[in-house]
């Protein structure tokens, strides 16, 4: 029974991080109709910045003081800043052009960011496990479970709730939804679409960066984590529906559970089964479970 709970918590952990990444991707697509292939690298960027900042603040100490947890969001803020920088310079010139060029430029951005992180932080992984260990562990039945994972799940849940409130209960959210539903009409009604685009992109990057920031104490920041995460984020978004935050949540939960089940019972097909699931959803309901085509 307790192994079941542990598996469930692992699935929720994975789902939380996936929701943060995929939610950002979905938000960006929903508002701007751009598939950001560099999104995974923004997640990696958030992870690296947080690992670096916390590492500097720790300064070689073994024990982490609880104040350091307040430093975690710095990765998210850095990713948001990077997004705010990239959108007007690289993406805005391409809105009027064919979709292929947007995919290409974000692919180029992926390559650039990958090596930028190598340039700044070197090829070795950055660890910040002191934060992971400082919270200790819980006993669930006969199993021991790290408490930090629960923190990640809570952050994921809070992010989901916060984002929902932001999009559905604030004025900014109304403007965001209006722009995503009908950009020209919103523009005709006086919305500054360029500004909404920058804000939406920044918010999406913030979420990706937050995903990286919360997971980095558990698994460290490694080159290539962005590319791996991107493909899984695609699976989540395809299942849940491009452009829908609730879809990203459902997709993340499904991916988390299927992955955990796959790893437990049949590790060889764990990856394949996720991609197959995406392919099946694309066949049966191409818009995704909760998406609009």
């Amino acid at each position: 029974m307790d192994t079941l709970i542990v598996h469930l918590l692992n699935a929720l952990l994975y789902a939380s991080v996936m929701f943060l990444i995929a939610g950002g991707l979905s938000l960006i697509y929903g508002v701007m109709r751009i598939v950001n292939l560099a999104h995974g690298n923004l997640y990696a960027f958030g992870a690296y910045v947080t690992a670096w900042a916390v590492g500097r603040a720790l300064g070689g100490a073994i024990e982490a003081s609880l104040w350091l947890y307040a430093l975690l969001p710095v990765g998210a803020l850095a990713a948001a800043a990077l997004g705010a920088l990239l959108e007007p310079t690289l993406l805005r010139p391409l809105y009027r052009r064919a979709e292929e060029y947007q995919l290409l430029i974000t692919f180029g951005l992926l390559l650039i960011l990958e090596d930028l992180m190598r340039l700044v932080w070197g090829p070795y992984p950055l660890q910040v496990s002191a934060l992971y260990e400082a919270l200790g562990s819980l006993t669930i039945g006969e199993s021991i479970y790290p408490t930090y994972n629960l923190l990640v799940i809570v952050v994921g849940g809070l992010a989901a709730a916060g984002l929902w409130a932001f999009v559905y209960r604030t004025q900014f959210g109304v403007v965001l939804r209006a722009t995503s539903q009908n950009m020209r009409m919103a523009s005709a009604l006086g919305v500054n679409v360029n500004r909404v685009y920058v804000q939406a992109f920044t918010l999406g990057c913030f979420m990706a960066g937050l995903g990286g920031a919360v997971i980095v104490p558990q698994q460290g920041a490694v080159l290539g984590m962005g590319v791996d995460a991107l493909i899984l984020a695609f699976v989540v978004v395809v299942i849940g529906g491009l452009g829908s935050l609730e879809g990203a949540l459902i997709g993340a939960l499904m991916v988390g559970i299927v992955r955990e089940a796959g790893i437990t019972f049949f590790p060889e097909i764990e990856l394949a089964v996720l991609y197959l699931m995406a392919a099946v959803v694309l066949l049966v309901r191409p818009a995704g479970i909760l998406g609009r085509a």
Partner: protein, 329 residues
């Protein structure tokens, strides 16, 4: 009048000296350069196939690595399980494997367009990658499978002791021969009524359907042909590389294929060929000169998209416009 006979004299005029240069090349440059160009020619064949979908049918596939890898792993499996080493068997195996997989994936994918098509092709190619990666007892996992030098022309031409000499002379001519054949076949395809129908579908799907073109059917056939060309490229690539690994099934390799096709200019016939060869040199020298070669490629791609969307050949054509004649790219 066949499409080949209708090939504009301009094309034949400049392709003859280029072909001559390619034939003479192994006697003029060091073997390393010849082998490097062989890689370029292999990628050019893949680009040719890829562009049938992108430039002529208007479908951007982000999963063409699946067919390249299918061709490559077919070769590796022929070596591993059938213990054959004839290049013709390799090519046949590559064609069959990539054709079958393209037929299957195409059946699934061509119902969609634009972004869903791209994501679906990406997801399917990742399925193949993950299978090749995880089932290591069949595919060698991330170590890959080794492939020895093949015999060419049904066993008449053997490798002998010096593998590099074989690769830079006999194998190079073999690749060149297959390359010329592929260019000729693709030219005929693109200038045939089939090719025209594809372009009609690309330009205006609804109108094409009203005229009576079965859109889904034509797209699927184009998909299979495209996959086969890419599979041939994969089969040719393996003996050059000596080894096949799951990397060539990964979506980032598909991204490279998109990159070099767009680099050359995907709205022209010869653009992708030029792009593939130039990209090969670009990547090789970038890798050789800096650790941050991905950034170099990324910057080139960004500059390309922002400043030169027509690609190299497209921009050259824009700079030197040909007299207005009724001819297609």
């Amino acid at each position: 009048m066949t499409a080949l006979a209708a090939a504009p004299r301009r094309v034949l005029a400049w392709s003859a000296p280029v072909l001559l240069a390619l034939i003479v090349l192994p006697f003029v440059v060091p073997p390393y350069q010849t082998v490097l160009l062989s890689y370029g020619l292999v990628f050019a064949i893949a680009a040719l196939g890829f562009n049938l979908l992108l430039g002529y049918t208007g479908l951007l596939s982000f999963g063409h690595s699946a067919y390249f890898g299918a061709g490559a792993y077919a070769v590796a499996f022929i070596v591993k399980y059938a213990r054959f080493d004839s290049m013709e068997a390799f090519l046949l195996g590559g064609i069959v494997a990539s054709g079958a997989i393209a037929a299957l994936f195409g059946f699934v994918c061509v119902r969609y367009t634009k972004i869903f098509f791209g994501i679906l092709t990406l997801a399917l190619s990742q399925v193949l990658w993950s299978l090749a990666f995880k089932f290591f007892w069949v595919t060698g996992g991330s170590d890959g499978l080794r492939v020895p030098t093949p015999t060419l022309l049904g066993g008449f031409v053997r490798a002998g002791n010096d593998k590099f000499e074989f690769l830079s002379h006999r194998y190079y001519y073999y690749v060149l021969g297959v390359f010329v054949l592929c260019v000729a076949i693709m030219w005929v395809i693109v200038h045939s009524p089939f090719g025209k129908a594809l372009q009609a579908i690309r330009d205006n799907e609804t109108r094409a359907e009203f005229v009576g073109v079965q859109v889904w059917h034509y797209r699927w056939v184009a998909f299979v042909i495209s996959g086969i060309f890419t599979g041939v490229a994969g089969a040719l690539w393996v003996p050059l590389n000596g080894l096949t690994t799951p990397d060539i099934l990964h979506w980032t390799f598909s991204g490279k294929m998109v990159f070099f096709t767009v680099l050359g200019g995907f709205q022209t016939f010869f653009g992708p060929i030029v792009g593939a060869i130039i990209f090969n040199y670009l990547e090789t020298y970038a890798v050789g000169h800096t650790v941050y070669w991905q950034m170099v490629l990324g910057v080139v791609l960004v500059v390309l998209v922002l400043a030169l969307p027509a690609g190299i050949v497209g921009t050259l054509r824009w700079l030197a416009p040909r007299p207005a004649r009724a001819e297609t790219a």
